[in-house]
């Protein structure tokens, strides 16, 4: 249109063994525009970002920066050429100061006549300039760990634009930020846009796309669906473009009624926790979980929801209170003990606490089942493969084969993989901590449908999420947490505002 492309990609194709991750994708990033890249998990967003930032080389296709052919061999080289990136997980060193982080790799040197070495005051000055560009009022001499994740994310942006950047790639920069922090982040991004930077913005939050983006490129299964001006593409059209079919969220809504009904007739809770607490983490909490219900746990980041789940699953030890299952009091000294009682936990950090990236899909799925069986007898190779195939099919896990290392799967598929691991042992109680984080909307709907099906079949499910609308949608009963306390319980079908209201009552 009006502006010429700063960065242009033509026919980018990336072929991995067994998977065509990217198939002839074009992209045009213009100066002074925010360009959103949308798509489901496995659509090829990460692959595209890896190519643009020099982390991998495409099988075919070309990149052009200002009309000149570009072949970055490494992220460092891409950065020198003017393509900077900020990723979902903050890739900085928390033990260094803000200034050191911003300038890492390009510390200014003192001349030899002044003794050589690092020019610390110059370092601080340059860092301060970068921070001033972003209107960030923080002390560059303080340790990075001193600041919140949001500020750390901004420091990562400051680091990205500290070199003369033409293009800034933001890969889910807001996924660990709360609303206020997102607002701060967007204010900074708008200023950067005005300064003429071309920004590629990747997120799963639809509202954020419409708030910030000028243009949207949608990918699906490695192919480009199209490039649209954000103003002309409605939400429904965007979702339809991403998924290819209609969303199935409405279906989730209907099924929840059945799940709630199953929960109401149960008398004896499956698991009863009384005054369960851990100093400095969670104030004593009472929780009842009934068989066949989805219990939602709603709370913001740091509300104590993950900490509660970790105690229920034996990952952390409570220092007060008790857990009763059936009629007997139980103590989960380790996850293995909890699993022996039929309690399974999908952790929040699936990369570090969930999947074993180097093991195959098959081995990851069979892991918990085999762990419960013990060392012997070993589940036979053929039996393992059959089990894995069954879950790959029923949960729709996208992988080249069941022997693919789990680390090669996209985020949503890894989430399904952990779900498969637990379904294989048929737990009585399944605790899911942020199962939809980093998962696109269609996979979310599938996942929630799967959960309601499981609850209908009699499994108790604890669904923990910061996405209040998801909790309200899927849960029959909601436990609301705030500031490491339980602030109340709500019935399902309540409005999102009710949950907010209950949280606010405490805050």
């Amino acid at each position: 249109m009006s502006q010429p492309c700063v960065l242009r990609a033509r026919g980018l194709t990336q072929r991995y063994p067994g998977v065509l991750a990217l198939d002839g994708v074009d992209l045009c990033l213009r100066a002074g525009e925010v360009h959103a890249l949308m798509g489901q998990n496995g659509a090829g967003k990460s692959t595209l970002v890896r190519i643009i930032t020099g982390a991998s080389r495409p099988t075919a296709g070309v990149l052009e920066l200002d009309g000149r052919r570009l072949q970055p061999e490494s992220p460092a080289e891409a950065r020198r050429m003017g393509i900077s990136a900020v990723f979902q997980e903050v890739n900085l060193c928390p033990n260094l100061t803000v200034a050191e982080n911003i300038m890492a790799g390009s510390y200014p040197r003192r001349g030899w006549h002044r003794g050589g070495g690092i020019d610390w005051s110059g370092l601080e000055r340059s860092a301060r300039t970068a921070l001033d560009t972003l209107h960030l009022d923080i002390d560059p001499r303080r340790q990075l760990a001193h600041y919140s994740v949001a500020v750390q994310q901004m420091v990562a942006v400051a680091r990205a634009i500290q070199v003369p950047a033409r293009v800034l790639v933001l890969d889910e920069p807001t996924s660990s930020l709360d609303d206020e922090e997102v607002r701060q982040c967007f204010a900074v991004l708008r200023r950067l846009r005005e300064s003429g930077l071309a920004i590629l913005f990747i997120t799963h939050f639809l509202e954020q796309v419409y708030e910030l983006a000028d243009r949207i490129t949608v990918l699906r299964n490695g192919r480009q669906v199209g490039e649209f001006p954000a103003a002309e593409l409605g939400r429904d059209a965007l979702i339809a473009a991403m998924i290819g079919t209609d969303t199935r969220l409405a279906e989730v809504q209907q099924r929840r009624g059945a799940a709630a009904a199953a929960g109401s007739e149960a008398t004896e809770p499956l698991l009863r926790a009384r005054a369960l607490g851990r100093r400095g983490r969670v104030h004593p909490v009472d929780v009842d979980v009934l068989a066949g219900e989805v219990l939602g746990v709603a709370g913001l980041l740091g509300a104590g929801r993950t900490e509660l789940a970790r105690m229920l699953a034996g990952l952390d030890q409570p220092d007060s209170g008790s857990i009763t299952m059936g009629r007997a009091e139980v103590r989960f000294a380790s996850p293995a003990k909890a699993i022996a009682h039929g309690v399974a936990y999908c952790p929040e950090e699936r990369k570090t606490d969930g999947i074993v990236a180097e093991l195959s899909v098959r081995e990851n799925i069979v892991l918990a089942l085999q762990a419960r069986t013990g060392l012997w007898p070993r589940h036979g190779q053929r039996q393992q493969a059959a089990l894995a195939m069954r879950f790959v099919t029923t949960l729709g896990i996208r992988c080249a084969s069941v022997e693919t290392p789990a680390g090669q799967l996209s985020g949503g598929n890894q989430q399904k993989l952990i779900l498969a691991r637990w379904l294989a042992i048929q737990p009585l109680l399944l605790i899911l901590d942020e199962p939809t984080r980093g998962v696109d909307i269609a996979a979310k709907a599938e996942l929630m449908n799967e959960l309601t099906r499981l609850a209908d079949a009699g499994m108790a499910i604890v669904f923990i999420s910061a996405e209040i609308d998801e909790v309200v949608r899927v849960a029959g009963r909601i436990l609301v947490m705030c500031d490491q306390r339980k602030v109340g319980e709500l019935q399902g079908r309540c409005a999102v505002q009710d949950v907010f209201h209950m949280m606010a009552g405490r805050a």
Partner: protein, 349 residues
């Protein structure tokens, strides 16, 4: 060759290929300089020849390295194996000598008691290492450093600062005798390694070890009793060192608390890495470790065949190790291949 197999070849994902090639090359060099090297004959009721000698001498190292493989696969390391070897040798020597004296006066324990005592001492050492690593959460290299230093001291104390000579003939047979013509040391080492291989293959131990080695937190969360398994592997590693201690002391008919198994921890780690096991944990190969142990012993044999002056032994050994290690590095291999293609193209032009 099928397409898949050739792809594996090119990407170098056949982990045993390079160690095996290195071993073959070393054997070939030996055979070149000593024409009788590969000849195995039947002499005085048993197998004899340089290869049998290499196997016999490699047996204790292969044992120690096998135990080390499991520990390294679990992201650990055990540098106390040399000290444990010395402790086991000393305990066995003390008991067997004491019991020989008792046997002379009638009654008293025999060989089995000495072996049990040695292995029990080794198992205790392993338990100690495991407790420090799993229970106290020390870094493995620090935790086992404690026993590496203190263990040898304990062995010296037990031995009263003396080299204990062993007079029991049946004990000495363990290190010098033959079973069906094969050196007993080789039989013992082979039996233990075979037992380990079968355990890994027929139980879920292999899966658990790789899961823990790759991602300890995830493995624990999946319900694997990571602490118990890690502890057991340290005990097994120490037991292997204990067996090696018995073989070594039986071979020389004496237990030298100060020098038995000296620096064997480094040779064992070397054997493990030569075999393609990653020190970062998770990926391991027992067969590779055996090849690694054989490489080290063949190298020592080669130094003697070539008649390298003793003072240059270590330099030659170092050169060979560096060469083998570099050959295993994907970076270097890629570089070499690029160099080779360029050379070919250059000649063509």
């Amino acid at each position: 060759m099928s397409g898949a197999a050739s792809r594996r070849w090119r990407t170098g994902s056949q982990p045993l290929l390079w160690p095996a090639l290195a071993l073959a090359a070393l054997l070939a060099i030996n055979a070149l300089f000593d024409h009788g090297f590969l000849v195995i004959s039947w002499r005085a009721g048993h197998l004899s020849g340089s290869l049998v000698d290499v196997l016999n001498r490699a047996a204790p190292l292969a044992l120690v390295a096998s135990g080390m493989t499991l520990v390294i696969a679990l992201r650990g390391i055990d540098i106390s194996v040399g000290a444990v070897l010395a402790i086991a040798a000393t305990v066995a020597a003390l008991v067997i000598n004491g019991s020989s004296a008792a046997a002379a006066t009638g009654g008293g324990p025999h060989l089995a008691v000495a072996l049990s005592a040695a292995l029990a001492a080794a198992a205790l050492c392993g338990l100690w290492n495991g407790l420090l690593v799993v229970g106290a959460g020390l870094q493995p290299i620090v935790a086992t450093l404690v026993l590496m230093v203190a263990g040898r001291g304990a062995a010296q104390l037990l031995a009263g600062g003396q080299i204990i000579t062993i007079y029991n003939a049946s004990y000495a047979d363990l290190g010098n005798g033959f079973l069906l013509g094969v050196p007993i040391a080789v039989v013992v080492a082979a039996a233990i390694v075979l037992l380990l291989a079968v355990t890994l293959r027929c139980t879920a131990l292999d899966l658990f070890i790789r899961a823990i080695g790759c991602n300890p937190a995830a493995a624990r969360n999946a319900g694997i009793r990571a602490g118990l398994i890690t502890m057991s592997c340290y005990v097994f590693c120490a037991l292997c060192a204990g067996c090696a201690g018995v073989l070594v002391s039986a071979n020389v008919r004496s237990a030298d608390a100060s020098h038995a198994g000296e620096l064997i921890e480094l040779d064992a780690i070397l054997a493990v890495t030569l075999g393609g096991t990653s020190l970062a944990g998770g990926h391991y190969s027992l067969a590779g470790t055996l090849i690694g142990a054989l490489i080290i012993q063949t190298m020592t044999a080669m130094i003697y065949t070539l008649g390298v002056p003793p003072e240059t032994n270590l330099v030659v050994k170092a050169a060979v190790v560096i060469a083998v290690m570099l050959l295993q590095s994907p970076h270097v291999r890629r570089g070499l291949r690029r160099l080779a293609t360029r050379h070919v193209l250059g000649e063509g032009a």
